[in-house]
Amino acid sequence: MSAVIRIERLLHETIATPYSDLVTRPTGAAVRQRVLDALHEAAGDEAHLDFSAVGLVDFSCADEVVAKLVGQLPDLPVLRLHLSGLREDHAEAIEHALRCHGLAVVAVFVDSPRPRLLGTVPEDWQVVFALLSEMGRAPAPPVAEALAWPLVRARAALDALAAGGCLCAHPDDTFELGAVA
């Protein structure tokens, strides 16, 4: 199960503004608290932060809302946090903020259904993530085989992506992108 959290709605619940821009650090911190409340209320393994109705996102808000939440993932009541409805200018601010903290997140853009990784993403993660988005649910051996990698290399990338909340790791030792795919 996954919860969808509409960021623009939380923004308007947080401050009285006719605009939909996610700007300033105090606003970002207040919206992050709202998101945390929503995550505690929502049940499920995954949550999507929906940016589709958000205007501008500045670097400070990207840091407060996205980077700090992704950094807190082990303490959150969900296993994975994804972004959706992103535009390129949103992504630029968010990617910048994530890189400052060495974090990564899965994002789906308004103009493409194909999920992307944003932030600090080693090359192996990119390759494995792209492959798994085509293969669907799979264990490590066929991933390694498809890439002609040693199993340990594929396994390390899959585990790291799962640990960062970018993939779903199942008890039967398979991996998939989850509801974002």
Binding site: T17, Y19, D21, P26, L56, E88, D89, E92
Partner: protein, 298 residues
């Protein structure tokens, strides 16, 4: 009365002449800010003059006099840019004061606007966004993708006031022809505050590293070049970093003046040295951002 002549053309660079003529601070005598012979002021000029007036008010000094430009149309332009309505709060205005109110023109993306708290930044970014999209595309031939970064840069620059200055400040955004330096149009964001300045803001966390060398110039360099803020959180100080990255992509320029120094990241079209020290002291901090039109435009 100490007479402070305003340069004929007042912008972020000629502000140095104004600062050089400031008396020791706080001034012992009342100031007469003489703009009678001034023919033009950039957004950086407007916001800096208001900063001076605000700083004098905040130290409880007598309201300075401001002699308005005498040339036809200049004072009227100052009114249209929104300067005079705020100047009236800090200066005793002399000369013919136009009744004209601030008005939207194709050059004025944002008239002179006060920034006191973060909700002001929301209002500024929201107000300017739709208008800037049209003007940046039409006047500067910039792509739609430039506009998002423009808003982000504006927001971050304004937030420097609410996060670090310790008092309010001013912002203005104009489009004008940079004929001499650039040979085409550019959009200019000017943000100025009467606050504590970069050196004091960073002193507690950074001064020790530099010892006796600690100065206004090093403080600005620490923030602008090394992305360090007074907060230790790695996510802080990144607003300026993101703004720099955006400006580098579009051949823009950022310069910051604080206290007695100015540090800039000059693009290829500009000849300003990266750091200028030993300038006349001026209150607070002044940030100027220039985003040029595409080469084929204007």
């Amino acid at each position: 009365m100490h007479v402070l002549p305003v340069p004929t053309y007042l912008d972020d660079r000629s502000l140095d002449q104004l600062a050089a003529n400031l008396p020791s601070w706080p001034p012992e005598q009342r100031l007469l800010v003489d703009a009678h012979a001034t023919e033009w002021a950039s957004p950086a000029g407007f916001t800096a003059l208001l900063t001076l007036g605000q700083a004098l008010k905040e130290i409880g000094g007598p309201a300075p006099r401001l002699t308005l430009p005498g040339a036809d149309g200049v004072a009227s332009y100052w009114a249209k840019a929104g300067f005079l309505q705020h100047a009236d709060d800090f200066f005793e205005l002399h000369g013919k004061v136009p009744r004209r109110k601030a008005a939207e023109t194709s050059e004025t993306l944002l008239d002179v606007t006060p920034i006191r708290e973060s909700k002001d930044v929301h209002e500024i970014v929201g107000r300017i966004n739709e208008r800037s999209t049209q003007i940046l595309k039409r006047e500067l031939d910039l792509e739609a993708s430039v506009v998002g970064g423009f808003g982000q840069s504006l927001s971050e620059t304004c937030q420097n006031i609410t996060e670090h200055a310790g008092t309010g400040g001013w912002v203005a955004v104009h489009v004008y022809n940079f004929r001499r330096r650039l040979g085409r149009k550019a959009v200019v964001i000017a943000v100025s505050d009467a606050g504590i300045g970069f050196r004091r803001s960073l002193e507690a966390t950074q001064a020790k590293r530099f010892g006796d060398r600690w100065s206004d110039g090093l403080a600005i360099e620490t923030a602008l070049i090394h992305n360090i803020s007074r907060f230790r959180d790695p996510g802080r100080g990144q607003g300026l970093a993101g703004t720099k990255r955006y400006l580098a992509r579009w051949h823009g320029k950022i310069s910051i003046r604080s206290g007695t120094a100015r540090v800039c990241i000059p693009p290829a079209w500009d000849d300003e040295p990266p750091m200028t020290e030993g300038l006349g002291w001026f209150p607070g901090s002044q940030v100027t951002i220039v985003i040029p039109a595409r080469e084929s435009a204007s």
